[in-house]
Symmetry: C2
Subunit: 226 residues, 2 copies
Amino acid sequence: MSGWEDIRREVLARIRSRAWPLGALIPTEATLAQEFGVARATVNRALSELARSGVLERKRKAGTRVAALPVRKATLDIPVIRAEVEARGEAYSLRLLRCNLAQPPLPVLARLGQDVGDMLHVETLHLASGRGFVLEDRWLNPAILPTPLPDFAAISANEWLVAHISYASGDIRFCAEAASDAAAAALGVAQGSAVFVTERCTWAPDAPITWVRLIHAPGYRLSTVL
Amino acid sequence: MSGWEDIRREVLARIRSRAWPLGALIPTEATLAQEFGVARATVNRALSELARSGVLERKRKAGTRVAALPVRKATLDIPVIRAEVEARGEAYSLRLLRCNLAQPPLPVLARLGQDVGDMLHVETLHLASGRGFVLEDRWLNPAILPTPLPDFAAISANEWLVAHISYASGDIRFCAEAASDAAAAALGVAQGSAVFVTERCTWAPDAPITWVRLIHAPGYRLSTVL
DNA sequence: AAGTGGTCTAGACCACGCA
DNA sequence: GCGTGGTCTAGACCACTTC
């Protein structure tokens, strides 16, 4: 009954009960360690976790305070599309719509921040039980690809990348858009339907890897627990 | 040069270079501690962080392996709406559109999982520099509210809650929808526009607190780094 | 300068989950 | 069983930040 999770719970209880009001300084790690009868490292673990989830704000010398305007931090799981489809108990398949070298449009270049000349343009339709699930529009830096090219009709670019260029850094954005005619046709929905769009950019330490836009079929939801 | 972050970097490098292939077992903490010349706790910290971000999968006795089908984990910051508007350098204001007791509709009850009778229905329009930014449709459990009621025309329900019922648990979902006529009118956009919708549910340990739907004006984006 | 959190160590015990 | 990761301890040093 005095693991770091117990201490975390107790600290949370004091915050909820207003014993430690929003914005207030709380006692130092050393003090709490003595009070709870544990090592300072244990208190540190509990408080660090709370800081990570946005409940506390910690600064050296300044001490630890209860976040005044809490920024909740939620963790999203971003699986590869095939895993996502199979997790729903549906059969996954894909259709390669396009795969050719071309000059990427300006918005893509702008997001990648670097012009590497022609890039490989790959369009893939991901299907769940034969119905359109996600339309993927991707630009790949050819410098990171092997020759001959992987067969993107057999393994999605998505999946090839995680298996071969794994663990790059990048950013991700989500927004809502009206489906373009082409996207609506590919997904088999009414043109102009509201669709959920994921846009991702990834870089190797030195060069851009890929820019990708995923247009999800209507009804798609992203969810997580707080 | 041998903090846990250095070890984390080195492990990531070995994974990227395929010295440790996807799905493979990696050496035990004790072994790596010896190899790197650090305490086991330091290796543990590095590997735990990598497991948290989805790069490694760890199990007692079974050991640590490189994730075969990595599920990237991204962290989302979910700020209070006012902070979000002000972070864009715009002036925040709000308009209270509705605040009355009523029986919540079935979908809301279903999500809350418990019927507490009439709930307080609060509709708020959040404005950024006078333009519609978010339309908030909220149902509150009156049992958690003080009497007299907080003045939701002065402080948004959103903000009142984080200040008074802070750090509850809940879940959150994001999706794209076509704006309803009422929502489109309130936000001043064309009816049927694609809008980004956030739906959140929060519970106290014993009773539901609130269900809320945020309809964001077109152009809204949720973003984070991977 | 001094106080606070961040990290590291060396050792220990425990909980889980394979065999 | 028994090997592995998960956690705890007591102590130490360091880095950052405010004073």
